[in-house]
């Protein structure tokens, strides 16, 4: 059976994020293996212009809507449903992202296809498709077999190569009409991040603290270490959610993307949502008491010790080397 795959392409402020190319790349691979087709669905203001860059798809389905900086989900789901019917789609790929959150599940109910979340791998054989879902922040993997190779998959960021989805050719463009849906939700405005004291996305060194830092009283210790290293303190989400640091310091899916020379992670488990924001770091060093913490899978150096025990010592060693002690 040849695959007919729809990829939901995201865009915000005129930019298409890497995840969309990652999905296009894996869709291309599956389609080529089965002699199928890839459709890239893109909707909202500026879609027509952006669609020309989606060369990994055979066809771009374009729902241009100059009034929608961010497309209404209800309209988008209906457009996807119509596209599934029309193109006899067997697979639909949506990003496991905040923007696309909740689309896959609702589309599943409307289309009768199953939805699988947190997809990390897709393997196709003659007879079936095995989809791997990463649960518990990547600590446990589950394989699900799709016998008819049909499904809606929520794809994790950063697991498929984006370059495979960047092909320098133009897809053929098919404009689609905006479904007539009366939504009870209106998008009002885009809110820029509040200018923080420090822009962590520009720092060369980040000392990043997670739940393992245990108490707000320990944040100053991390600050001192960061000072010694000439950097700043960033954090994972729970630290911000508990009010220990401002939102401007959060790294990850909902926070900032950072790409420092050194990312020193203290007591961070390395959930996919966190990894997403720090995957650009050149050198990752992880300190974690759990030898099985997922962060060790992508850190360059690691130590299985208590971060509270090492902070002070590390600061001293650094000061010694810098001759500032």
């Amino acid at each position: 059976m040849s695959a007919s795959i729809i990829v939901l392409v995201e865009h915000l402020k005129g930019n298409i994020p890497e995840i969309s190319y990652e999905m296009l790349g894996v869709a291309r691979k599956i389609a080529d293996a089965s002699g199928g087709k890839v459709y890239a669905l893109i909707a909202g203001k500026g879609s027509s212009a952006l669609a020309t860059g989606l060369g990994a798809a055979d066809v771009a389905l374009v729902l241009e809507d100059s009034s929608a900086d961010v497309m209404n989900d209800d309209v988008l789901i209906e457009a996807l449903k119509q596209a599934i019917n029309e193109k006899q789609a067997t697979l639909v790929l949506v990003g496991c992202t905040n923007i696309s959150f909740g689309i896959g599940t609702r589309l599943a109910l409307r289309s009768g296809m199953p939805f699988i979340n947190w997809v990390k791998d897709i393997k196709t054989t003659e007879g079936e498709m095995v989809v791997t879902s990463a649960l518990f922040g990547g600590k446990v993997l589950s394989d699900i077999v799709l016998k008819d190779k049909k499904g809606i998959l929520g794809i994790l960021s950063g697991v498929f190569p984006p370059d495979a989805g960047k092909i320098a050719k133009q897809p053929s463009i098919e404009h689609i009409a905006k479904p007539e849906i009366k939504s009870k939700i209106t998008f009002r405005s885009l809110m820029e991040p509040k200018a923080g004291d420090i822009d962590i996305s520009r720092m060369d060194v980040l000392v990043s603290v997670g739940r393992g830092i245990q108490s707000p009283d320990n944040i100053p210790l991390a600050e001192e270490l960061a000072n010694a290293l000439g950097g700043a303190v960033s954090s994972s989400r729970p630290v911000v959610d508990q009010g220990w640091l401002p939102l401007t310091r959060q790294v990850g899916k909902s926070g900032m993307n950072v790409s420092p020379e050194l990312y020193l992670a203290l007591g961070i488990s390395g959930a996919p949502e966190h990894y997403e924001g720090m995957k650009g770091a050149k050198l990752v060093v992880a300190i974690n008491t759990d030898p099985k913490a997922p962060i060790f899978d992508f850190a360059h150096y690691g130590a299985v010790v208590d971060c509270l025990e090492i902070i002070e010592l590390l600061k001293e060693e650094i000061q010694k080397r810098k001759g500032t002690q």
Binding site: D73, T97, F101, G102, G104, T105, R106, A108, L109, P114, F115, I116, N117, V130, L135, F136, G137, G138, K139, V140, L141, S142, D143, I144, V145, S183, K184, I185, T186, R188, S189, L190, M191, P193, D204, L229, P238, D241, G243, L247, S254, M256, L262, S269, L283, A286, P291, D297, F298, Y301, G302, V305, D306, E309, L313, L314, E316, E317, I318, R321
Partner: protein, 258 residues
Amino acid sequence: MNAYVLIKMAPDPVEELDIANDGKSLNAEFIRFKSGDPDEHSIEQALLLKEKNGGKVTVVALDAPEVDDVLYTALAKGVDRAVKISLDQTQLGSVATAQAFASFFQKEGISSDTLIMPGTQAIDDIEGETGALLAEMLALPYIGVVSGITLTNGGAKAVVVKEFSSGLRGEYEVELPAVLGIQSAEKPPRYVPVAKIRAVMKTAKIETVDLSEPDKAKILEIERMYKPEVAGRAQILEGDVKEIAAKLAEIFAERGII
């Protein structure tokens, strides 16, 4: 305002997550259940809304290990009502869970000021987001990854902040009744002393609601569950803490970081 917070008990990943002998599920022996962070934030957000606008907050959960503790804690924090649905949560997938909640809300009745607040997402499910599924089943509007809610138009509408990426957020207006998947509250969840929870356990009551089993417990079957092979990219530094600190300083110096 008539707010409902949905609480899900999920295995705490801080504990060892062991695979059971069937190779398809977690070894129940070692699991400790806890409510997710988003659910805790959802309780907080509902209480903040109540403090500002008045109204009522109900917490609802399916039956699961340790769930009573979480429900009593919510009562101690100031929630008005705690309801437990007599279906075993651990046997149901997200779609079946959403079906159970849909019939619960049909029984309860949905008023023009109803706000259903599940957490955005739990970490243990393959089938997707219960909140979005529930909204679809009840034909209500849904917004997920919410980190702020202000009621407007005398409680007929809500202005909602949704997180996007790179610190960007979007502001939306939504008509009530609605389902809002909460990611974080405007303030960190409040603390409640154990003594107060104990006192509440003596005086307050958890209501139980009986519902019939949904048609299909799970849409998808897990074929195999396993631990990821640790790619082991990290070079693990050995030694005592002081030696490790010295090694790290050396690595930083070699790389020209210090």
